[in-house]
Symmetry: C2
Subunit: 516 residues, 2 copies
């Protein structure tokens, strides 16, 4: 039986662009994973890994015009956004190269033997080692930053793990192009190209998660797809870590005082954030608690104005367009739900942005309106009008886990007056990133970043953006009473590699700046 063909499709027309590849069969997955496993030791040298990541960043930039052209043709995200995403992706690769060089991620702790203890302590030296082959499931909405050359791949390679990426069907040509860039970078760095491999196909993705030589997985996508893979990872004879980012409502709370102080600004900011990238950000604000009454009306009026001015846009694929149109219709049909700007079908291939408004009281108790507490992918948000703080906390207490939660306060509240601290405390359990002011779309690639929150935002307690994302692909090993001659150089007394370490309770600074 011939393997199914993989086509690149133009979402602006719904027409196939080109045949890109074939879906991988079970035999091919087995071969790909075995090849990745066989070359894993090539990634043992940190200096080579760092050079590889930097070369990948440089080659990606050199190939930028081709990559952006392909990605735009397949995703309709536009060259402006895609050039920015490419720059961010290259920066991310270089950030992980810095992290590899610096070496704090190895979490080295050394305890010399201590006979004064009861019982005596033997010499113990702890370091983190790579888990093995990592499966990466690319996202639809970030064809670069959360796909083949994205954060999961970069952090796994930085950890020393070969990567097999399962391409997203919305941008297979971009995936092929990026995989060839990474493989070329590997070769130029003296590594086997097979430290990065690419496969296509839904069934191939399921085979991949089940393969005995796959050691961990990273995923960005829907709750349905992510949960199915999470379940498969957990059901293996030998379960593996599955770090999945599945879905997030990203609640926003606007206090009455904030609305009174800057309702217009907030309405305009919300309109921009919820329609960014045609509403296809994982961090899109999907539920906004706005005070009832005149101050809140100002915000809603400006939101109405802002959203009305947004042109119809093209979603990543036609299946998403259908899901969006059906999803907003179902939500708009609920009792007491109004659509100041009706979201839904735009032209034949586009969707129009809009938003829904509802009394917060309807969300405070279980019922049909729970649908409004589920993510709806695309340019729509739900504005829930509340009458008091009790209604805010009642709604918050019903929310699932989120990537982000945002609080807008007045100047006085920001200075510590009133209920600001209480509201912040109510938002913290809900999310991995908590903002006071600003909007959640836009995730800085910074060491302090946390892009991951309680389920279903994430299936683990990890982050997929920022330096600590590397932790996902490592496990600690402690060497006991191991002679100096046999110890990895990272663990020798003289610290020949100049790594940051904690030795007998004292921190040894590394030779490179820490925490970059």
């Amino acid at each position: 039986m011939a393997a199914a063909q993989v086509w690149s499709v133009d979402p602006r027309t719904g027409k196939p662009r080109e045949e890109v590849a074939a879906e991988a069969t079970a035999e091919e997955i087995d071969r790909v994973v075995r090849t990745a496993h066989a070359v894993r030791d090539a990634l043992a040298d940190r200096a080579v890994r760092a050079a590889f990541l930097r070369t990948a960043a440089a080659l990606l930039e050199e190939t930028a015009s081709h990559v952006v052209e392909a990605a735009d043709a397949e995703t309709a995200l536009g060259p402006g956004r895609l050039n920015g995403e490419l720059a961010r992706t290259a920066f991310q690769l270089r950030s992980f190269a810095d992290i590899v060089d610096e070496g704090a991620f190895l979490d080295i702790v050394i305890n010399h033997a201590d006979d004064s203890r009861t019982p005596p302590w033997p010499d113990l030296r702890r370091i983190k080692v790579p888990l093995g082959v990592v499966a990466v499931y690319a996202a639809s909405n970030f064809p670069l930053a959360f796909s083949v050359p994205g954060g999961d791949t970069a952090s796994a390679l930085a950890a020393g793990c070969p990567v097999v990426v399962k391409a997203h069907p919305d941008h297979p040509a971009t995936a092929e192009l990026c995989a060839s860039v990474l493989r070329r970078a590997a070769a130029q760095s003296g590594l086997p190209q097979d430290v990065v491999q690419l496969v296509h196909g839904f069934e191939a993705g399921v085979e991949l998660i089940r393969h005995p030589l796959v050691s961990a997985a990273g995923f960005t996508g829907s709750v349905r797809g992510g949960r199915a893979l999470f379940d498969a990872a957990a059901a293996r004879p030998h379960p593996i870590p599955f770090h999945g980012e599945l879905g997030s409502l990203n609640p926003v709370v606007v206090t009455a005082a904030a609305a009174a102080e800057r309702g217009e600004e907030l309405g305009a900011g919300l309109a921009a954030s919820m329609t960014l990238g045609v509403g296809q950000f994982c961090t899109k604000p999907g539920l906004v608690l706005v005070p009832a009454g005149a101050d809140g009306d100002v915000l809603v009026k400006e939101l109405t104005h802002g959203v009305s001015e947004v042109e119809a846009g093209v979603l990543l694929d036609h299946r998403m367009r259908e899901a969006f149109v059906a999803g907003v219709a179902e939500r708009a049909a609920l009792d007491g739900v109004e659509a100041p700007v009706t979201p839904g079908a735009g032209g034949e291939h586009t969707v129009g942005a809009g938003f829904l408004a509802v009394d917060a009281a309807r969300l405070a108790r279980e019922g049909a309106h729970d649908l409004l507490l589920e993510e709806c992918f695309g340019p729509v948000t739900v504005v829930a009008r509340y009458s008091d703080d009790a209604e805010i906390t009642a709604v918050l207490s019903r929310l699932p886990g989120n990537l982000t939660a945002t609080l807008h306060l007045s100047r006085a509240e920001s200075a510590g007056e009133g209920h600001g601290a209480a509201l912040l405390a109510a938002l913290t359990p809900l999310a991995g990133r908590v903002l006071v002011g600003g909007w959640p779309t836009g995730v800085a690639v910074a060491p302090a970043q946390q892009h991951g929150g309680p389920y279903p935002a994430t299936t683990s307690t990890s982050t997929s953006v920022g330096g600590t994302a590397i932790e996902r692909w490592l496990r600690p090993v402690a060497y006991q009473t191991t002679p100096e001659a046999l110890l990895p150089p990272e663990l020798r007394d003289a610290n020949p590699l100049g790594l940051p370490r904690v030795v007998d309770g004292r921190r040894e600074a590394g030779v490179r700046a820490e925490g970059n």
Copy 2:
């Protein structure tokens, strides 16, 4: 329907000692978990948590004679061992108090806003927060150190999580006594007693892992029981982390040169390690690769002598005794397996230590002898005689994950000659702790410790012993553009709590010694 009674049983006679409690019903589990959840904020203050852990250590020592008496009556482990275990448990509680005080576990990373970046970085401040109620499943073989007052409980409380312990049925009276000590310590520290609660019963344990307000679980026990709970944790609507230590073979490799150099010493050391605590350590060496020929014979002869001298011992319960007797008989009946000292039934309530010997070649390929690669709980080990290094690596490649792996080298090999490094490299992927020399039984409570290895040794990449065990009960939260007045004090610019932090890439030392 009346709840089933929980009896304390004397394993030396098989007779019930006393009725201790009743098994918790589903309603009771719900009430217990809700109570624990309701008091979680009481643990927010680090200073109070540290004081609580130190008070618990002191009260445990004050109550030592009662606790050891109860534990000995229920487990037959003997007062010598149990007094040592109690001292270790108190030390562990104090170690976590030190870790709480020091604060490095909060993993604080601060990036001030940086407009020079493209796109600009917002102010981001990352800290770790407790997950919520933790379920702890106590172990049979360590009634203190891996049970009610043990490492899972201590690390979870240190992280700021209330704990519900599911008692092990082999020592319910000890569990009740220890729970009352911990609850008394809580009260003396100004905390609600319900930050620690105890439940009994198999079904209660299943209810517990399924409860929506349970946020994570720690487990030490069998593959069967642990896997069932792991599966239940993964199958929840909202899956939770399950850190389980399930089983380990703890392979040992003795090189020909090591056997030639000190075969007698190694034989005697192995006899002592495999029979320690009647062979009921998670780290018992269960498979020992010994060279064929005269040098290996010296080791085996001394092992034979050492094991023959071990008196019959009492296992933790009669079910284990039956499993041991049946397990060793099934193994001994395999083709080509000899029993130089026959393990099995001793007296009516005891078992005799022994060991089995087999050609390593029989373990190098799939077949009936795979049974010898499964842990057999109790005083037995398998000595596999190999003819060359290829046979060693062939057997190692067939092993599941382990807590420990041990290598015995000659002096010259330890100095770097020959195959020492290659063998060490072959053992590292198999385990969380790799020893060169010494024996794996005995797990130092030290910062560099790693008590956790690839599945089935552990269901996650974490450790259950040592300071980093606290990481299991935390998740990161990043605060974005949050005004100083609303930030937790840990994240304020002035660092009023004197915590170790990484700020804009520079490490701020804390006011307390790091890495204890």
